[in-house]
């Protein structure tokens, strides 16, 4: 369980990182390393160069201006979980960040790392899809912005080009209103067997599921039935179309349960 040989570069700015990334083939960005390092130790990932982003100054900031959140990608899950602005204006994001792994993992793992890694069972990519966030991708070619909903393409697969770095995340604070979250995992801190972000408005509903497909699964509906049985039947019927990677029957069942639980949480909070 030792990685294959690799070179290591520590950069001080995003520009340096972008330059290094375009210079070397088979390079990988190292942020918190909570997924990459185990993959390297299993030799499932064998980058020849590791570009360490941890030395980039102010790569972990959060700001809120005119309803727009800007979060730089280097923020750790624990910082996101504890950040006063996030807690106050995007509480669902703070809450789900606290469900990522255990404290030690949250202290190192970063938002950008999690979003780019695109594990289908992780909370943060789904949260960004639910929030309709924009990702800023930086390379020597410049910057481009892509929506979270377009960013995810499949299992561990994203729109991120080989030479691009996910550097900033934007979303509207107001879009975080009325989104509620629930998940089920075997043990606290495990990847979710199934999780859901549910946003309930007067006339429309949005559900973003994770853990039950190869990537966050987002859909928009009309208003949900208020009557419990009808609503659960709707969730069950929607979940029956999901294609989980394993334990199909069980995960579909859980998908309906977490959607209902997230919905009920919202109703309690909004009541």
């Amino acid at each position: 369980m030792k990685p294959a040989p690799f070179s290591y570069i520590r950069v001080a700015t995003v520009e340096e990182a972008a330059n290094a990334l375009s210079e070397y083939t088979d390079a990988k960005l190292l942020a918190g390393g909570q997924s990459l390092i185990p993959l390297m130790n299993y030799r499932l990932s064998k980058p020849t160069v590791l570009i360490d982003l941890c030395g980039i100054e102010a790569f972990a900031s959060v700001s809120l201006k005119d309803d727009v959140f800007t979060i730089r990608a280097g923020i750790t899950h624990q910082s996101l979980h504890e950040h006063p602005l996030v807690r106050a204006y995007a509480p669902v994001l703070a809450e789900c960040a606290g469900e990522v792994g255990h404290w030690a993992i949250r202290n190192r793992g970063t938002l950008g790392g999690s979003l780019a890694h695109a594990d289908p069972a992780s909370e943060l990519p789904a949260a960004m899809v639910a929030l309709d966030a924009r990702f800023v991708l930086t390379s020597v070619r410049g910057e481009r912005t892509v929506t979270a909903r377009d960013f995810y393409l499949g299992l561990f697969t994203t729109d991120l080009a080989e030479d691009e770095i996910l550097t900033r995340i934007h979303f509207f604070a107001s879009s975080a209103n009325r989104i509620h979250f629930a998940e089920i995992a075997r043990r606290p801190g495990d990847f979710a067997l199934s999780g859901a972000f549910v946003r309930v408005e007067e006339s429309a509903t949005e559900i973003t599921w994770f853990g039950v497909s190869d990537m966050p699964y987002h859909l928009t509906l009309d208003a949900l039935p208020v009557e419990e049985k009808a609503r659960q039947a709707l969730f069950t019927s929607l979940a029956s179309t999901l294609e989980p990677l394993d334990q199909t029957v069980y995960r579909r069942k859980l998908a309906a349960v977490v959607a209902e639980r997230a919905y009920l949480k919202g109703r309690r909070v909004q009541a």
Binding site: M1, Y42, R43, R186, Y250
Partner: protein, 786 residues
């Protein structure tokens, strides 16, 4: 204050260590990270080994291509079966004409079996080379299912040997008549799936030739230093005195480290043959793949019982999957089944028993010892039977236990398999646990909650725990040894042949000796783990260290006390029987001012030797051995788990957990409770989480701790523990207790889930029971009701 009162109070405060909540001497170093484990051993110029392991469960090896590996920078040597012709053969395998080569020769028989050993300057370089070894296989059909294997289907694992590697039958006289005559019968198949101990510190070995003596020195993380020395010497073809085994701090062992493994032979052989210091430390994937597996058993059970819940007879066909070889030197499949068959009736007066045992080879990892060995399986079956009888008769599970529990007046009691139980607190432990739980009230609450869609379950597990056996995974050494030396400055050094891995022997053995010698605990050093300094012993395993090692400590302590009394009586010119030892002094009873300190006595014994009495040997050293008269010492107790099952998700939450434990006289309740907490945690894993899964090609699919789920701190319940003390007839009155908590707890957790799901007519019959299984069972029940 009157003198009398003062004297009384002084006596009340007299340090009496045995039975006291003494904090562990080991804790400071363990908790501050100052302990030195195997991987902390640094020998200058030491090489590391990495293994190329079989990726097939069954195949012929056609060719091994080593050129690219050989050319890898840092590689020193590469070994295959040709270069390293060693093997281990357990008694069971040898009887079947089978031995396990250190490195697979011609055929591979399980995924993870070592084939090639790469010796390199670093583990990194060794693993680089491992990647470059190419092996050509000709696949064979894997043998994976016990029932088929028994019929030699689809083929034999070892060409010349039938797959059935062990068979036995047993029946009480009059069984058939008693079974047939019973008014009620039920059948069930119980199954436990593969698990393993997963010690925090993985296993491994380092070996070097001691340049001074030319002897081979082995550093091992192991439970039986002397046992390993003997086994390695035989396998390497050297004499035991040419081999020194040193066991540094061991970070958990759980039976897994009672075994010797093929990798150990390769490491030691390489050191011996090439005169290289070498080391191999298992990584976590190797741990899950190749540490001995355990608990791969099927019990097909038939039960005969009366209308009041009295159980008359149990018939059980026990099967276990031994894996490709018997683990060395202890075959887990035989251990799990044979020993389970002897305690299958648990704490109950079930008069009739018939057992058939079949153990079979397969293309899986060898099955070996994991804490509790047969006990968790036997308890799961036995307590599962009791709950099924209760459900069949609509009786409270407690009532069925009361009807069947061995009454106090029947002790010493011989069970249907011929096992002689010690006197215990069988009924008392059950009643005490029920009282701690407020059982009747909880049952009433359970009913109310069910009406609100909340499913609470109460799982009872009354257990017997065979301990301190003459034979166990710690070998066939039915005694333990202790040496005590009082040093010239009066401090005490004791040495044992035990192999602790966190049990706190440095504290408990010191407690016993301190009380015998009347010295302070801090003045005692307990040594273990070096065959050059420790007296020969069996090591740690099978819950033997407390009762047998503790007995040796008491005997040695008494022998030393006698020496000190003899010496002091001579110097004090007092009768020997009037000399008392207390507070580090020997004094004349009633005249504490007439005294010699132990330090002064030691000075006389070592330096001022002209003052010694005639015939008193110079120095202060004793060795004592203790062999219990009983072949087994039985502990007992009751566990009760209270859980809530979420009927929407199948997830289980433990709400409460009570333990009443009786391990005879307590040496240190704090350490006993630590053992219980750890065992219950492992029981939670056994019942709900842990499973080594194989696919249909014999690949282990749970090779990381993301797939093999261990209980973590967030799930292990706070437990309430009470002690009862029914002393054994052995030295000190101690009984073993290292495994009872893991023997009892899986059954308690399983029964709690069964109880919670009574409205859905579900009972747990396979462990671990998982949320998806629970939800599927609830659905089946709802469908059938609809």
């Amino acid at each position: 204050m009157s003198d009398a009162l003062h004297h009384l109070q002084k006596n009340a405060l007299k340090p009496k260590y045995t039975g006291a909540r003494v904090t562990r001497k080991e804790d400071a170093r363990l908790l501050t990270g100052a302990s030195r484990y195997l991987d902390d051993i640094e020998i200058p110029g030491m090489y590391e080994i990495a293994f190329v392991r079989s990726q097939r469960s069954a195949a012929r090896i056609c060719a091994i291509h080593l050129d690219a590996a050989q050319a890898t920078p840092g590689v020193k040597r590469i070994l295959t079966a040709k270069e390293c012709p060693c093997f281990f053969g357990s008694a069971e395998d040898v009887a079947n004409g089978v031995v396990q080569p250190a490195l697979a020769r011609d055929v591979v028989r399980y995924v993870g079996e070592p084939i090639v050993a790469i010796i390199a300057e670093t583990r990194y370089a060794a693993e680089d080379a491992v990647e470059r070894v190419q092996i050509d296989y000709e696949p064979l059909q894997p043998v994976l299912a016990m029932r088929e294997s028994l019929l030699d289907q689809p083929r034999r694992v070892h060409e010349k040997t039938p797959n059935r590697m062990f068979h036995s039958e047993y029946q009480t006289s009059g069984f058939e008549d008693a079974f047939q005559a019973a008014p009620h019968h039920l059948v069930e198949v119980f199954q436990t799936h593969r698990q393993t101990g997963v010690p925090l510190e993985t296993r491994g070995l380092a070996a070097t030739i001691d340049p001074g003596s030319g002897r081979l020195t082995i550093y091992a993380t192991h439970q039986s230093p002397h046992g390993l020395r003997g086994d390695m010497a035989v396998a390497l073809g050297i004499e035991e005195n040419e081999l020194r085994v040193i066991v540094p701090e061991v970070g958990g062992a759980f039976g897994i480290k009672a075994h010797a493994y093929p990798e150990y032979l390769v490491v030691a052989y390489a050191a011996l043959k090439y005169k290289l210091p070498v080391k191999w430390i298992s990584d976590r994937t190797e741990c899950l793949l190749t540490d001995v597996h355990a608990r791969d058993d099927i019990h097909e059970v038939e039960v005969a019982f009366e209308g009041n819940g009295r159980i008359l007879a149990i018939r059980d066909h026990l099967r276990a999957d031994a894996g490709a070889y018997s683990a060395f030197p202890f075959c887990g499949a035989i251990g799990e089944t044979v020993l389970a068959s002897r305690v299958l009736t648990g704490p109950y007066t079930i008069p009739h028993l018939a057992t058939t045992i079949d153990c079979t080879y397969s293309n899986k990892t060898p099955l070996g010892a994991y804490r509790g060995v047969w006990g968790p399986i036997a308890s799961f079956v036995q307590e599962g039977i009791v709950d099924r009888v209760a459900r069949a008769l609509h009786l409270d599970p407690v009532e069925v236990r009361r009807v069947n529990m061995i009454p106090d007046e029947l002790f010493p009691y011989t069970n249907a398999a011929g096992q002689a139980y010690d006197r215990g607190s069988y009924r008392a432990s059950l009643e005490k646990a029920l009282e701690m739980l407020n059982y009747d009230e909880l049952r009433a609450q359970q009913k109310t909650l069910r009406d609100h869609g909340k499913y609470i379950g109460i799982g009872i597990s009354a257990f017997v725990e065979p301990t301190a056996m003459a034979q166990s995974e710690a070998g066939s050494v039915p005694y333990e040894s202790a040496t005590i030396r009082i040093e010239p400055n009066g401090s005490v050094t004791a040495a044992f042949g035990l192999g602790p891995s966190g049990q706190g022997h440095e504290t408990t053995m010191a407690q016993l000796i301190a009380d015998e010698l009347g010295v302070d605990l801090k003045d005692i050093v307990v040594l273990h783990g070096d065959t050059d300094s420790a007296p020969f012993g069996g090591g740690t395993g099978g819950s033997r260290s407390g009762p047998i090692g503790g007995g040796a400590a008491l005997k040695a302590g008494r022998a030393m006390k006698e020496k000190l009394q003899t010496l002091a009586s001579h110097l004090l010119e007092a009768a020997k029987e009037d000399v008392q030892l207390e507070d580090g002094k020997a004094f004349v009873a009633g005249v504490p001012t007439r005294n010699f300190s132990i330090r002064e006595l030691a000075q006389v014994a070592y330096t001022d030797v002209l003052r010694l009495p005639e015939d008193f040997p110079v120095g202060l050293e004793v060795v004592a051995r203790y062999q219990p008269k009983r072949p087994v010492t039985f502990s007992n107790g009751t566990h009760i788990a209270v859980v809530e099952v979420d009927a929407q998700t199948g997830m289980i939450e433990v709400l409460d957990y009570v333990v009443v434990n009786d391990c005879g006289r307590l040496i240190n309740p704090l350490i006993v409770e630590g053992q219980i907490q750890g065992g219950v945690a492992q029981g939670l894993g056994s019942a709900y989480l842990e499973e080594l899964r194989y696919d249909d090609q014999g690949q282990v699919t749970t090779t990381t701790l993301a797939d093999y789920l261990l209980p973590v701190a967030t799930e292990v319940p706070r437990m309430r523990i009470a002690h009862l003390e029914t002393p054994s007839s052995g030295e000190g009155g101690f009984k073993g207790m290292g495994e009872g908590s893991l023997i009892a707890s899986p059954a308690a957790f399983a029964n709690a889930v069964s109880d919670a799901l009574e409205p859905f007519a579900f009972m747990v019959s396979a462990l671990p029971v998982t949320p998806d299984q629970i939800l599927a069972a609830i659905d089946r029940s709802r469908d059938s009701m609809a």
